[in-house]
């Protein structure tokens, strides 16, 4: 039987960590979406330097461990005169890491919109950017919602790396509680439940959005 007294006695700590996890995830989620969208557009433009940059960005950040990026911003950048708290460093790392995956999802979504849509937009006098914004991206988003939803769920789970750099998130607090109480099993079960409280509504929401968009036109 689970020892609920741990949950009750240390509820404030759990809650603090939970809040930090939510905030870090939310910020990283919004940031990674915007960075990802910009990188995706770079990857498909005909302007070569932008395209190279986009490709390098994706290949680099997708292929190194998240922890390495997090440590870079936590212990690496102070050498360059930039100091971040564990929470900030971790959130930046999460945003950058996730944005590489989101960029790829958006890129394949954009490429799946028929070529004739861009041609119709451009031949009516709209600029490339206008056509992207008003015609291509709104259609791509429909295709891209499920993979992006999965990335967001991964993001929430990945936010647990904050614990490694004193990010005061849920996982970090759990480590503290379990060190204090010598209870391991129960503490991490509760932590798992807290994560589920975030990820289950997220995946339900994505599923709902997917259905609604499918019906929209």
């Amino acid at each position: 039987m689970l020892d609920f007294s741990i949950l009750v006695n240390y509820f404030d700590m759990f809650l603090d960590g939970f809040k930090v996890t939510i905030i870090a995830s939310l910020i990283a989620l919004v940031a990674s979406f915007f960075i990802g969208a910009i990188i995706a557009v770079m990857r498909i433009t005909s302007i070569l330097p932008l395209r190279w940059f986009g490709t390098a960005y994706v290949e680099f950040f997708r292929n190194i461990p998240l922890v390495v990026i997090a440590f870079f911003f936590y212990v690496g950048t102070p050498a360059l005169g930039l100091e971040f708290s564990g929470l900030t460093a971790g959130t930046i790392a999460l945003a950058i890491y996730t944005s590489a995956f989101i960029a790829e999802a958006i890129r394949s979504g954009i490429l799946s919109v028929p070529k004739g849509q861009m041609e119709a937009g451009r031949s009516s006098g709209l600029s490339y950017i206008q056509t992207m914004r008003m015609i291509i991206l709104p259609q791509a988003i429909k295709i891209v919602i499920p993979p992006i939803g999965n990335q967001f769920i991964n993001l929430v789970k990945n936010s647990s790396i904050l614990a490694l750099i004193a990010g005061t998130d849920l996982m970090y607090q759990a480590d503290l509680i379990s060190a204090k109480t010598y209870v391991v099993f129960d503490v991490y079960i509760f932590v798992a439940l807290f994560y589920l409280v975030l990820t289950i509504p997220l995946s339900t929401g994505v599923g709902y959005l997917e259905k609604r968009l499918a019906k929209s036109y």
Binding site: Q130, M134, Q139, Y217
Partner: protein, 242 residues
């Protein structure tokens, strides 16, 4: 006025357009015909810069299409284009499809754009479909919306790339009727089509292409009754016999 002077185009090593010389006057209706792969679409798409030319000079209203300093978006306001597969925006209503460019390119107010859109929807015969989505329309209706979308920019030139080829036979007529009306109002039109009836009725000139070259340029009556080129004869007998 559209003027091709010695225009060539390559896709890599492949020579798609060969020594194209063609002048189209304001108000003229030019019908481009020729076998599949002869370069008709490419020719048409060069006019609004959807394809670039490799050499030679192509001018539309005295502006060089491929010049670096040409504002291509501005030039395109004056050139409407209708595609074989309509290319309507599926996520926008019929009305939004038509008003998008007038609002965002010509900076018309939503109200003004809507008024213009309704005028052209009226004209193509489907004002009642304004709030439908493209997926709710028949092919013929979608193509008429696409024409209205082009016209709403008040262009001086309209390009049509096989506008009836993707339609069920019973819907071809309704689209051709709209195009004929447009031709009679004096619109400058370049039309790639296999509809010989249309070509005869409203075409001022037939341009026959084969393997990237313009082989014959002729008044419709002359072309259909008395084709000079052997390949034009073969082509005509093939399409007229089915």
């Amino acid at each position: 006025m559209i003027a091709f002077e010695q225009v060539n185009k390559f896709y890599g090593d492949f020579h798609v357009l060969k020594d194209i010389n063609l002048t189209i006057q304001d108000g003229e209706v030019v019908v481009v015909i020729g076998p599949s792969g002869s370069g008709k679409s490419t020719l048409l798409r060069c006019i609004n810069g959807l394809e670039t030319t490799s050499d030679g000079v192509l001018k539309v209203k005295n502006i060089q299409v491929n010049e670096k300093k040409t504002d291509i978006n501005k030039l395109r306001r004056n050139i409407g284009m209708v595609f074989q597969h309509f290319n309507l925006y599926p996520h926008k209503t019929v009305l939004e499809n038509i008003t998008l460019a007038p609002i965002n390119v010509l900076k018309q107010s939503a109200e003004e754009a809507k008024k213009t859109a309704m005028y052209y929807l009226e004209k193509v015969g489907i004002p009642d479909k304004a709030s439908s989505f493209p997926s709710q329309l028949s092919g013929g209706q979608q193509q008429r919306v696409a024409i209205a979308r082009g016209l709403a920019m008040k262009p001086e030139i309209m390009l049509f790339d096989e506008p009836t080829s993707a339609l069920d036979p019973e819907m071809v007529g309704e689209v051709l009727d709209v195009m004929k009306a447009l031709a009679k109002e004096g619109m400058t039109m370049v039309v790639v089509t296999h509809e010989m009836g249309f070509a005869k009725e409203v075409g001022d000139r037939i341009v026959f292409m084969d393997q990237g070259r313009i082989l014959e340029e002729e008044m419709p009556v002359e072309f259909f009754e008395n084709p000079k080129e052997e390949r034009a004869k073969v082509f005509l007998s093939r399409i007229l016999n089915h």
